[in-house]
């Protein structure tokens, strides 16, 4: 079976990698241990500014673990130990100069399962700016909420019911609300951990379009199990396998001409 049959040709051609993209985040020899178990075995990766990097690989390969290292969400997990260097704009995120709370404001995250706060739609968006003191008065906050919802493509659907609970939205709307919430604090990088795995194809298409638009302003790293999705939304793809980063290249290259046979096997559906 040819690899090409998986990938719509239009998707591949839609966004040619134009211009020069600076390096936003760097991982050097990142090792992660959960207690005695090693989850990542020395990952080296560069994440370029204003591009979408997709992390693919079979379940348990460590891609989510890696993603959660980028904004130190692993700090909350008991017995989790991270070695190696992860840098944001050249600064070690595990170093003394960067605080975890500050880092998470700069590197936002969208989770696998939509997890809006059980508060109103407005408060869901306003929460981040409020705790960071971004808006000094109401009008400014209203502006932030509106912009964030517009960027997340949710504004038209919810503009008349901002005071209603965010948990009352459909799954796809909830996930876009979570993306809007992440955008509201103006992060530099957005991490997405399988953001569409709980959504139907229409909601998924919505989110994918959104990711493509967000790329202009943000650097995005997305973990996905869906290879078509990786092909559609990303410019760079990294393939993870059993705690190793096997291959990282332009998405087109990975899907059309993988160098490693494990990558070849995975994208052609032989395993994973």
């Amino acid at each position: 079976m040819s690899v090409q049959t998986h990938i719509p040709a239009t998707a591949m051609a839609s966004r040619p990698a134009a211009g020069i993209h600076g390096t936003k985040m760097v991982a050097r020899d990142v090792k992660v241990f959960y207690g005695a178990k090693q989850a990542l075995k020395g990952i080296n990766l560069e994440i370029q500014e204003n591009r979408v990097m997709a992390l693919i690989g079979p379940s348990g390969c460590g891609k989510s673990t890696f993603l959660r290292c980028l904004n130190r969400m692993n700090d909350t997990i008991e017995n989790c130990r991270v070695e190696g260097l992860i840098a944001l704009d050249g600064e070690d995120v595990y170093g003394k100069s960067i605080d975890a709370v500050q880092l998470r404001a700069r590197v936002g995250m969208v989770f696998q399962k939509p997890n809006p706060f059980p508060k109103s739609i407005y408060d869901n968006i306003a929460y981040g700016p409020r705790i960071h003191g971004i808006a000094s008065h109401r009008d400014e906050m209203d502006e932030i909420v509106q912009t964030s919802l517009k960027r997340a493509g949710l504004w038209n659907e919810v503009k008349d019911r901002l005071r209603e609970p965010g948990t009352g939205l459909s799954g796809g709307q909830q996930q876009r609300l979570c993306i809007a919430r992440a955008i509201a604090v103006s992060p530099e990088v957005i991490l997405m951990d399988e953001p569409c795995s709980a959504l139907d194809p229409i909601a998924t298409a919505h989110i994918e379009e959104l990711i493509d638009e967000l790329r202009e302003n943000y650097t995005i790293v997305i973990v996905t199990h869906n290879m078509q999705q990786a092909a559609r939304v990303s410019q760079k793809t990294a393939f993870f396998h059993l705690g190793d980063m096997v291959e990282c290249d332009d998405t087109e290259e990975i899907f059309t001409n993988p160098r490693d046979e494990r990558t070849q096997g995975y994208i052609t559906g032989r395993y994973g």
Partner: protein, 421 residues
């Protein structure tokens, strides 16, 4: 062969029989369950029925009408006893000799002169006039009127002599005895005389005790639960603490009483019988309950909410105070109120720290001598007078009313603050 094969295994006789047995087992289980619920309800009805049927009469009290001439000189000498007695003798003209009149004195509550005095003090202008006053009857008269002392019993075995019964009959005939709502039960402290005894002292004592318990155990309990659940590292020490908290919740309450006696009274020298000490002991007893309930409530908050808050850059403390704690609050409140209700009904630890004393005055502060409702029930149950039997049941009803109120509040708060996600 071919016919047998087309018939599925699930259509066979054997399978039908098995299915019937399965349904029969389910029916038996349902019947057993309904029986259990039925028996439990019956027990509850019997318990409540017995308490209500024994206690409702305590809410009524017999009063005797007197036409008191408030002689100025007698009032100045504060000789209210004489005033009340003279009025009573006037009500029963048949009794003329000293011996009968002495017996008549027992018809009135020993508190009757004080009622009159209070009336005069409240309105001095009535001195010199003749006033119609209803004063409390003695508890034995009250019991007789309620039918608990029967006239068909031989006089020697009866609490009331024939002379008194004749006097009561005379009063009844004149319409000078009535039954009114027993306000004394709610407005007075304890007394040796049943008709003057009330629950208010115990209610105030219980309230003061609970205030101390709540002020101490709620903040400490919730803070401990939040720390253990959200911040503490999971290691051998926190495991040890958890095991100990769970064990403390099961320690008999009297042990806490002994601890309070040794530590608060013995070591710190705090006053005996004080609601302050009672509250401290109850707080120790309630803490494990609140900690456990709060931890369960915190555990029930989905981790995705914590991740969401941390993901937008909330600090761990902000995550807890803005998101986790509000979501856990209904559960924490329920646990807290149930713990408080348990403290309200607790007797044993209070016995140890001297809150079992006979206290007439209504406590005015945390260090005044006081008792609590369950202890009051215990003391009344111990009193020999027939009238205290019904007051015991009435006090139980009042305690139950408070408990139902508190549990109702717990349900209400839970429903009000419950959120879905």
């Amino acid at each position: 062969m071919s016919v047998a094969v087309t018939k599925s295994r699930y259509q066979s006789e054997e399978f039908s029989a098995r299915l019937r047995r399965r349904y029969a087992a389910e029916r038996r289980f349902r019947i057993a369950g309904m029986l259990a619920v039925g028996i439990a309800s019956l027990m509850l009805v019997v318990l409540l029925g017995s308490i209500v049927s024994k206690g409702y009469t305590a809410f009524w009290q017999a009063q005797i009408r007197l036409e008191v001439t408030l002689d100025k000189q007698q009032v100045e000498e504060r000789n209210y006893t004489a005033l009340v007695r003279q009025a009573l003798y006037a009500q029963v003209p048949a009794a003329t000799d000293r011996a009968t009149r002495r017996l008549l004195n027992d018809l009135l509550s020993s508190g009757a002169p004080y009622e009159l005095e209070a009336m005069v003090n409240a309105n001095p202008s009535i001195v010199g006039t003749t006033q119609t006053v209803w004063v409390r009857a003695d508890d034995e008269i009250d019991q007789f009127m309620k039918g608990f002392i029967r006239r068909d019993v031989p006089e020697a075995e009866r609490r009331l002599s024939d002379v008194k019964i004749a006097a009561i009959d005379a009063l009844v005939a004149k319409g000078s005895i009535r039954s009114t709502f027993n306000t004394t039960l709610f407005t007075a402290g304890d007394s040796r005389e049943p008709e003057q005894a009330g629950i208010l002292g115990a209610v105030v004592g219980s309230a003061l005790t609970l205030v101390v318990t709540m002020l101490l155990s709620v903040p400490i309990g919730i803070a401990a639960a939040v720390y253990l659940e959200e911040f503490a590292p999971k290691n051998r020490w926190t495991d040890l603490i958890e095991v100990n908290i769970n064990n403390l919740a099961a320690v008999p309450s009297i042990i806490f009483g002994l601890l309070g006696l040794a530590v608060f009274l013995g070591f710190f020298g705090l006053p005996r019988s004080a609601p302050l000490v009672g509250g401290l002991v109850m707080a120790l007893m309630t803490l494990p309950v609140i900690i456990i309930a709060s931890r369960v409530a915190l555990k029930a908050v989905p981790p995705s909410i914590r991740e969401a808050a941390l993901g937008v850059g909330a600090s761990p403390l902000q995550t807890v105070t803005h998101h986790v704690l509000p979501l856990a609050l209904p559960g924490i409140l329920t646990g807290t109120i149930i713990g408080m209700a348990r403290a309200l009904g607790e007797t044993a630890p209070l016995l140890m720290i001297g809150m079992v004393a006979f206290i007439v005055d209504i406590p005015g502060g945390l260090t005044d001598s006081a008792t609590a409702i369950p202890v009051q029930i215990y003391m009344w149950a111990d009193s020999p007078e027939r009238a205290f039997t019904e007051r015991t049941s009435a006090a139980i009803l009042i305690l139950l009313a408070f408990l139902i109120l508190m549990n109702g509040l717990a349900v209400f708060l839970r429903k009000k603050f419950e959120r879905r996600w």
